[in-house]
Structures are given as structure tokens and as C-alpha cells.
Symmetry: C2
Subunit: 238 residues, 2 copies
């Protein structure tokens, strides 16, 4: 019955005429021509959100790190590798969208220097100096005329505390928090369970398929986005 209600909402095109940009997958940060730092993100959640947003009537662009799954049909894909590549693509795409969903697991750090040749293993110990990558979702949300910006938080402890802190600090409209300490859900899994926080409320979704969860999340975002538009109009007219 709930699935049917959701399907009906989707059929009514709750995001018709809206442009949505979604980042997905991991990034890869080069150490040298052969080695890199990455993470276990599969891109499944971002791609499922892209399919759900498309089904809700949106025009969808996915900025995708290297993944091994096929992109949804009728979705534009901008392939990238590193966090710097992804930032550049995000800044170029955000101008043309109303909703920006940062589902990618962007590497927080990258090697300070990229060796041009493969690093030879001569010493027993090697020190790799990493520097902070730009915060893509915070950069997007900080722009003048920023889109309705949704972030993700992958946490292993104190999930709500860290998620609400990110929501406020990065000036996001909404944040979706995974507890990645659970092995049964998230990252490489087909299922996911999340908590969603926005300045005035929260929602929780128990473990379900990423496809099903994506439809719930897109419905929630569309609802919050409508309210955000109303508030913005009221503020403009005040």
C-alpha cells in the first residue's frame, strides 16, 4: 500500500521541470601513476537517487567517480576521478540546477604530491603527507543563489551528533546519515538504512533496498524543496 502511494506520487511528477545534480561513487586520489587512495563506495545509492529523481520527473545529471555499475537510463553522466575533478564538475553543473545531492564519498584528503614515476620501494617505512581536499558540498551550499543542497554523512559513531553538526556548519538544507559501522547496510551493500536531518525536523528509514529508499528520500526532498521555495518567496515579499 505504501509502495503504491509512493508510485502514485512519482507518477504525478513531483519533480517535473526541476534540474537535479547528484554526485556519486568514490573519488580516487593518485599517489603515483599506479597507486591511489580510495574508499568502499559503490555508487549504488547515488545512482538509485538518480533513477528515482528521473522517475519523479526531474532532469538528472550524475557526476560520478569510478564505479562498476551501469548508470540509469535517461540520466546524463559526467565521469570524474579525483575530488578536484569532482569539485570542478560540481561548480560548473550547480549553476543549472535547483537541487544538488552530494551522495559521493569524496576523499577527505589527497597526497600532497603526486609522484610522476612509480615510487620505488627502497625503505622499510614511507611517510605519505596528505592534504585536505576541498569540501564540495559546503562549497556548493556557500554559493550565492545556492541550490537546495543535500549532503550525506558516513559515520561510525555518534551519528546524529556529527550529522547535525555538518548540517549546520555546511549550511545544508538536509543531511542523510549512514551508520557505516553496520556491516549489513551501506557502501557495498544493496540495502541501506538512514537517518535524515534538516533544520526543523528529522526522519528515519529502516533497512530496505537502495531503490526503495531512494524513492522515499526523493519524495522527502521534493516536499522539503516545496517548503523551501515557499519560504524563499515569503522572505522575498516581506
Amino acid at each position: 500500500l505504501i509502495a503504491q502511494t509512493i508510485a502514485e506520487q512519482f507518477e504525478s511528477g513531483i519533480l517535473a521541470g526541476v534540474s537535479v545534480v547528484i554526485t556519486a561513487g568514490p573519488t580516487r586520489e593518485a599517489i603515483d601513476p599506479v597507486r591511489y587512495i580510495s574508499n568502499h563506495s559503490s555508487g549504488k545509492m547515488g545512482y538509485a537517487l538518480a533513477a528515482a529523481a528521473r522517475d519523479a520527473g526531474a532532469r538528472v545529471t550524475v557526476i560520478s567517480g569510478p564505479v562498476n555499475i551501469l548508470p540509469p537510463e535517461r540520466v546524463r553522466v559526467v565521469p570524474v576521478s579525483s575530488a578536484l575533478d569532482m569539485l570542478q564538475a560540481a561548480q560548473s553543473e550547480q549553476e543549472h540546477c535547483q537541487i544538488f545531492i552530494a551522495a559521493a564519498a569524496v576523499a577527505d584528503y589527497r597526497p600532497a604530491q603526486v609522484a610522476e614515476q612509480k615510487v620505488k620501494k627502497s625503505t622499510d617505512e614511507l611517510t605519505l603527507t596528505l592534504i585536505k581536499n576541498p569540501d564540495i558540498v559546503a562549497t556548493v551550499a556557500a554559493q550565492e543563489n545556492a541550490p537546495f543542497t543535500v549532503g550525506f554523512a558516513a559515520e561510525t559513531q555518534d551519528v546524529e551528533h556529527y550529522a547535525r553538526d555538518k548540517l549546520n556548519r555546511k549550511k545544508l538544507a538536509m543531511i542523510i546519515a549512514n551508520d557505516v559501522s553496520r556491516n549489513d547496510i551501506g557502501f557495498n551493500s544493496d540495502d541501506n538504512a538512514v537517518s535524515v536531518f534538516w533544520p526543523t525536523g528529522e526522519a528515519r528509514y529502516e533497512a530496505m533496498s537502495k531503490q526503495q529508499l531512494a524513492r522515499h528520500l526523493i519524495t522527502l526532498m521534493a516536499d522539503r524543496y516545496q517548503e523551501y521555495l515557499l519560504n524563499r518567496t515569503e522572505n522575498t515579499h516581506a
Copy 2:
């Protein structure tokens, strides 16, 4: 004509009754529960060698790092993640094989400490201390009654110099050298071109499919392995 000759050799079962163990793919070295260091190895070359060895009549086991390709049929697969996992599997499998081919791109280094929680990005710079991983192919070749051990070398410069140095230092029977500075071949490519060195000779193969190259390499290994058996017998009777 050459392809036909090779096919005939394979039909004659040049490795009938021989057990071959092949390592393939990259390894992943955990930084924390979500991040890791890895490399661009696709596993294609190792899997192609497994299929070619199987077609030549060998019993084949592949010790495989995380890859996104399907293993060849009628080949036993031992899945592993880190270099330490791969070493353990290699030591357990080498006792039961006559030929050991180390085609995996094993991470030379791993983080000295694996954080139990996701590392929080609080500082602008982060220093990651890496320690040397065990050298799997050298460990196998150094055993008493070691199998006929074949290594790979991925180099970006002075290919022959570094490859011959590894051949001697690690006491290998043969080494197969890729020039990974070339973009058209190797790692993620479907094609490969290699130079092969053994103590008394060398061979070069121009760019061709990894399947075709694998058949040439298995033919060469079978030939060298026969000679190695003869020498060993002569030495025993001397």
C-alpha cells in the same frame, strides 16, 4: 598460422598434470573502516593466464584480489583483500603446485596502523605512515622445494634494468615486465605488450590481446619449466 601452432600445442596438453597457482588483481590496504590504498590493476592479465594454463591442461588456482571481472570457468578461486591475506593464501597454496605465477599488483606498502573508527578530518594535513608489505613472490621463491616461480614487474622507466635486478634478487625462474608508462597497454587495458627475462635469455611480445599474450606466455613457461625439470634431474644425478 602462428595462432594455429599455438592452438595445437595447447591441444597437446603441454601442462597436463601440472598444478599452477596464479595471483591476480590488486590488493587493498585498509587505512580505516572506509578508506584504503589500492592500485589500477584490473586482474585481466592474471585471469587470462589462468584460462590459458587451464586450456594447456593444468589444474589452476587463482588467488585473487578484489576485481570486477568474472573468473574463468573450471578454475579454483581464493578471494583475498590485503597483501597479508594474499601472502597467507600463497604460502598455503604453493605447497601443492609446480608453477607459481605472481601476476597480482600487490601493494608494496600498507598503513602502519589501521584506525578502528573512520578518521575525522580535523587537521589540514595528515601524515600517513606506511610500512613495507612482505614480498610475496620472493617469499615463495625462497622456500625449500620452491615451485617454478614467475614474477611480474610494472615499471615506468629502465624496464630491463629493474626487471633483471628483480629476477636475480628474488631468485625467480622468469620475470614478465610491463612498461606501465605506456597508456595504450597494461593495467586497465585489454591489450598488453611485455618483455620476458630469464637467467639465460629473453623474449619480447608486441601489443596484442591479453588472451593471446597469455597463451604465448604459458607456452614459454611450459617450455622453460621442462628445461628446469631436466636440469634439476641432471643435478640430482650428478
